[in-house]
C-alpha cells in the first residue's frame, strides 16, 4: 500500500506537469476544448462511483449536482464577480450541502426508489432555476470570460488545467476512500445493509458521508462549465445525459476499483468527443446507450473486471 501510494502521487504529479506543459506548448485551442470535457467527465464519474460504485446507490442526480455547480458559479459571477477559485469552492460547499440533504431525504430508500428520487430532485431543481429570472431563467445567460492570469495564454487553457487539478483531487479522494475503513464499510453496506448495521458498521453516517463527498466533487466539476461555454441555460446544465453518461462511464470502467471510472471516462469521453465532431451528437447518444447496455449485460464488472479475470486466468495457467 505504501509503495502504491508513492507511485500514485508520482503519477498524479506527472499528469499535472504534462497538463501544464501542454498549455505552454500547444498553440491550437481545440485540444483544450475537447480535453476539458473529458477531464470534467473523469471528475464526475469518479465522484459518482463513491456513492454509486462503493455503496451501490445508483445516483441519477449527477446532472442536478453538475447543474447546481454551473448555477452557483453563474450567481456568484453575476452578483459579486467572484473569481474562478471562489466559484469552485462555493460550488463544492453547495454540493456538499445538497448531498447531505439528498442523503437525509432518501435514507429509507433503496434500489430504484433512490434512483427515481434523484431524478425527481434533478427536475425539481431544474424547474426552480428555469423560473429564476436573475440567473437568466429558461432563456439562459451569457457569460463574459474575465482576463486570463499568467502563465496561461487563454481562459480555456486555464480551465483545462483547473479541471486537471480537480481530477487529481477527485481521484485521490476516491482512492483514499477505497483503501480506508470507509471503503470497506461502504462495501459492506452495499452487500447487505442490515447485516452491516448489525455488525457495527455505522451505515447511516457512511451513506451521508459518501453523499456529501460525491456531491461536493460533482458540483465543483460543474462550476467552471459556465465559463467554458460562456453560456448557461437550465436545459443543458441539468440535462439527464450527464447522469446517464457518468453512470455508463463508471459501469464500463468497473465500479469495484477506484481506477474503473477513470478508465471508463477516458474511453467513453474520448469516443464521444470523436463522434460528436465526426458524425453527430445523436449518434453519440446512441453509442452511449448501446455501450451501456452491452457492458451491463456482457461485462458486469466492467473493463477493470475483465482485466482482473484475464490476469487470474493467466496466473492459474502458470500455476
Amino acid at each position: 500500500m505504501k509503495r502504491n501510494g508513492i507511485f500514485f502521487w508520482i503519477g498524479a504529479t506527472l499528469f499535472l506537469a504534462a497538463a501544464l506543459l501542454m498549455t505552454q506548448i500547444i498553440g491550437n485551442q481545440y485540444p483544450f476544448f475537447a480535453g476539458y470535457v473529458i477531464l470534467q467527465f473523469i471528475v464526475l464519474a469518479v465522484a459518482w462511483s463513491i456513492l454509486g460504485g462503493y455503496a451501490g446507490y445508483v445516483n441519477f442526480g449527477t446532472s442536478a449536482f453538475f447543474g447546481m455547480g454551473v448555477y452557483t458559479a453563474v450567481f456568484l459571477f453575476k452578483s459579486v464577480g467572484a473569481p474562478l477559485a471562489v466559484q469552485i469552492a462555493a460550488a463544492a460547499v453547495i454540493g456538499a450541502l445538497m448531498g447531505f440533504a439528498l442523503g437525509l431525504l432518501t435514507l429509507r430508500m433503496k434500489g430504484i426508489f433512490f434512483s427515481i428520487a434523484t431524478i425527481a430532485l434533478t427536475i425539481v431543481i431544474e424547474t426552480s432555476i428555469t423560473n429564476w429570472r436573475y440567473v437568466g431563467g429558461a432563456a439562459g445567460i451569457q457569460m463574459q470570460r474575465p482576463a486570463v492570469t499568467a502563465p496561461f495564454d487563454n481562459y480555456v487553457e486555464m480551465l483545462f488545467f483547473v479541471q486537471a487539478l480537480l481530477v487529481v483531487l477527485a481521484v485521490a479522494s476516491s482512492r483514499y476512500i477505497h483503501n480506508s475503513w470507509m471503503g470497506r464499510g461502504l462495501q459492506a453496506l452495499k452487500d447487505d445493509e442490515l447485516a452491516a448495521e448489525c455488525t457495527g458498521v455505522p451505515t447511516l453516517r457512511l451513506k451521508l458521508l459518501a453523499c456529501v463527498i460525491s456531491g461536493a466533487l460533482m458540483c465543483a466539476a460543474g462550476a467552471p462549465a459556465a465559463m467554458y461555454l460562456q453560456y448557461a441555460d437550465p436545459t443543458s446544465a441539468f440535462n439527464l445525459n450527464y447522469s446517464v453518461s457518468v453512470l455508463a462511464m463508471s459501469l464500463i470502467g468497473g465500479t469495484a476499483h477506484w481506477a474503473g471510472p477513470v478508465v471508463g471516462a477516458i474511453l467513453l469521453g474520448t469516443t464521444q468527443q470523436l463522434l460528436t465532431v465526426t458524425i453527430s451528437s445523436e449518434v453519440n447518444v446512441l453509442v452511449l446507450g448501446v455501450m451501456l447496455v452491452l457492458f451491463v449485460v456482457a461485462a458486469p464488472e466492467g473493463i477493470i473486471g475483465l482485466i482482473r479475470k484475464v490476469r487470474r486466468n493467466r496466473n492459474e495457467g502458470e500455476g
Partner: protein
C-alpha cells in the same frame, strides 16, 4: 386572477387528464408494481408506441385508436422477449441486479430516443382524427374532445385490467407470483413464464396508451423524460401494483397539475409530478393505498 369557475374548470380537466395518466401508468403498475422490474424505459416504450401510431396515421390514414389496437400484439411479443432477456441477464445471475437492471433500462430508453430522432427528427408530431381539435362547451367551460376520448378509453382499460387480474386464472397467477414466487413453484406453476406473460401484458397496454398520448397532445422524441416522473409518481403513490389505487393517484396528479398550471403558469408544470413523487417517497414510501410491510 383566481376564481371559483377557474378552479372548477381546472378540477374537471384535471380529472380527465388524471384518467389519461392512469392509462399510461397501468403497464408500469404491473411491471414495476407487481413484478419489481426497475422499468425506467416504460415511458420510452410509450413514446415509441405513439410514433408507431403516428406512422400508421400519417401514411395509411388509420384512426389513432385503431392504430393503437393494431400495434398491441407486436408490443405484447416485444414484452415477452424483453422480460426473458432481462430475466436471463439479471435476475438469474442475482448479484448486483438492481444497479445494473436500472442502468440497462436507461440504456434501452436512450437507444429508443435516438432511433426515433434518427427516423422522425426532433420536431413535434401529432395525429389527425375527427375527435382531435374539437371541444365540448358546457356553460363557460370548454372541454377538449380529445381529453374525453382519452378519459373513456383510459377508464375502459383500467376496468379491463382490474377484471383481468382479479377474475381470470392467469391474472390471479400474476398477483400470486408477485406475492410469493416460491409457493407458486411448489404448486406446479412456472413463475418465470407467468412473469413473462405479465410483462407482455404490461407492454401491450402501452400500444393503446401510446395512441392516447399522441391524441392528447403532440409528441416529441424526448417526451419520455417528463413521463418518467408522471408514471412513477402515479405507481408509487398508488402503492405498488394496486390498479384502483393507480386510477385515484393519477387523478390526484392530474388535478394537482392543472391547478398549479392555472395558478402559477406552465413553467412550473414539469416539476409537479416529480415533487409529488419526492414527497410520497420521503413521507410514505409504501404509497397512499399500499400496505405496510
Amino acid at each position: 386572477m383566481f376564481s371559483f369557475e377557474l378552479l372548477l374548470d381546472a378540477v374537471v380537466i384535471g380529472v380527465l387528464l388524471g384518467c389519461f395518466y392512469a392509462a399510461v401508468s397501468l403497464g408500469l403498475s404491473v411491471s414495476f408494481g407487481l413484478l419489481d422490474v426497475p422499468h425506467v424505459a416504460h415511458p420510452a416504450f410509450l413514446v415509441l408506441a405513439s410514433y408507431a401510431v403516428f406512422f400508421l396515421n400519417e401514411h395509411y390514414g388509420v384512426d389513432p385508436l385503431l392504430a393503437g389496437l393494431l400495434i398491441t400484439p407486436i408490443f405484447f411479443l416485444f414484452g415477452l422477449v424483453a422480460y426473458r432477456l432481462y430475466y436471463e441477464t439479471f435476475e438469474r445471475r442475482g448479484s448486483d441486479a438492481g444497479v445494473r437492471g436500472i442502468a440497462f433500462f436507461f440504456g434501452i430508453a436512450f437507444i429508443i430516443e435516438v432511433l426515433i430522432i434518427l427516423q422522425f427528427g426532433v420536431d413535434q408530431r401529432s395525429v389527425t382524427a375527427t375527435y382531435v381539435g374539437k371541444a365540448w362547451r358546457i356553460g363557460d367551460m370548454r372541454i377538449p374532445f380529445r381529453l374525453v376520448v382519452a378519459f373513456g378509453v383510459a377508464a375502459a382499460l383500467t376496468i379491463l385490467l382490474t377484471l383481468y387480474l382479479s377474475r381470470t386464472y392467469m391474472g390471479r397467477a400474476i398477483r400470486a407470483v408477485a406475492q410469493d414466487q416460491e409457493a407458486l413453484r411448489l404448486m406446479g406453476a412456472n413463475p418465470i413464464w407467468i412473469k413473462q406473460w405479465a410483462f407482455g401484458i404490461a407492454t401491450a397496454v402501452l400500444g393503446i396508451a401510446g395512441a392516447l398520448l399522441i391524441i392528447v397532445a403532440p409528441v416529441e422524441p424526448t417526451l419520455d423524460r417528463t413521463y418518467i416522473g408522471r408514471t412513477f409518481c402515479v405507481v408509487v403513490m398508488a402503492g405498488l401494483g394496486s390498479m384502483s389505487g393507480t386510477l385515484v393517484a393519477a387523478i390526484i396528479l392530474g388535478v394537482a397539475e392543472t391547478i398549479v398550471l392555472t395558478l402559477f403558469g406552465a413553467s412550473w408544470a414539469p416539476a409537479i409530478s416529480f415533487a409529488m413523487l419526492l414527497g410520497v417517497l420521503a413521507v410514505r414510501p409504501q404509497g397512499l393505498f399500499g400496505r405496510l410491510s
